[in-house]
């Protein structure tokens, strides 16, 4: 498996650290209800199909990446810099 880092190009999967679902990008506000925190911390979809998760390019540019992939075909559909996503903090 290889990921195409937007900065470094095509790289081996072992250069990356897997973190988890991109749910981690939507942290609830401090006043959010307990159910929102429950969702954020514990509840994950487990789709047979398209999913998006976070990877860290540890042995490369040290950037967080949002990787869209298919759990059925193992196809990598898109790799984006988390820093470049809409709403990412400057």
């Amino acid at each position: 498996m290889r990921l195409t880092c937007p900065l470094c190009g095509d790289r081996d999967r072992r250069e990356f650290y897997y973190y988890g679902s991109d749910d981690y990008l939507d942290r609830p506000g401090p006043e959010a209800p307990a159910s929102a925190w429950d969702d954020y911390l514990h509840n994950r979809d487990n789709p047979a199909g398209i999913t998006r998760d976070l990877w860290y390019h540890e042995q490369g540019c040290a950037q967080w990446l949002a990787v869209t992939r298919s759990t059925v075909t193992h196809e990598i559909l898109r790799v984006e810099l988390v820093a470049g996503l809409k709403g990412a903090r400057e």
């Binding site: 470094c8 250069e15 042995q59 540019c61 040290a62 810099l81 820093a83």
Partner: protein
């Protein structure tokens, strides 16, 4: 303040094995230039005073002895010259944090092929390219400086290990060439 005596990262004479020569580099100052959000224009203005521009991802540029190397998103290392006054970026001295090695000769690509998981053939990684990658398990800044020449920078704390592993790869290539006749 006491005078500090600059010392090389390790005491090692150049080694030539397996068609490649490995030597320690005396690179001079190394300065990290980490752009603030939207700071590229201001930083480029400062770099222009020494004839350099901020490098794009995976590249390096040089002017005389000074070169600037892409090392990450909105970050570059200025090597071989003191940093000019510039705005728009965090400028920090990294000179004593990194150890530089020069690897050259017809066997240099083959040596790196054993340690760096990148396609480093000239067609894929020509002169002027740079990469953040791994030298075995170590963090690496790699530059191609000539058709048969590379520069490698690792954390200074790992200089001895990096040297050992590079020499080992060179010895194995030499041994293999001897067996082939």
């Amino acid at each position: 303040m006491p005078d500090l005596i600059a010392k090389p990262a390790l005491d090692a004479a150049p080694v030539t094995r397996g068609g490649a020569t490995l030597a320690l580099l005396d690179s001079g100052p190394i300065t990290s230039i980490a752009l603030f959000p939207g700071g590229e224009k201001a930083a480029s203005k400062g770099l222009k005073t020494i004839g350099l521009t901020f490098p794009g991802p995976g590249t390096w540029v040089a002017k005389d002895a000074a070169r600037i190397v892409w090392t990450g998103r909105e970050q570059a290392f200025l090597i071989g010259a003191p940093a000019p006054a510039l705005d728009g970026a965090a400028v920090t001295d990294q000179s004593d944090g990194w150890a530089g090695f020069g690897l050259s000769g017809p066997g240099a690509e083959a040596v790196l092929a054993r340690l760096v998981p990148l396609d480093l053939r000239a067609a894929a990684f020509p002169v002027g390219r740079a990469a953040r990658a791994a030298l075995n398990h170590m963090s690496l800044v790699l530059l191609r400086t000539g058709p048969e020449a590379f520069e490698l920078y690792t954390f200074r704390s790992m200089a001895r290990t990096a040297w050992h592993e590079l020499v080992e790869a060179m010895e194995k290539l030499e041994a293999r060439a001897a067996v082939k006749g």
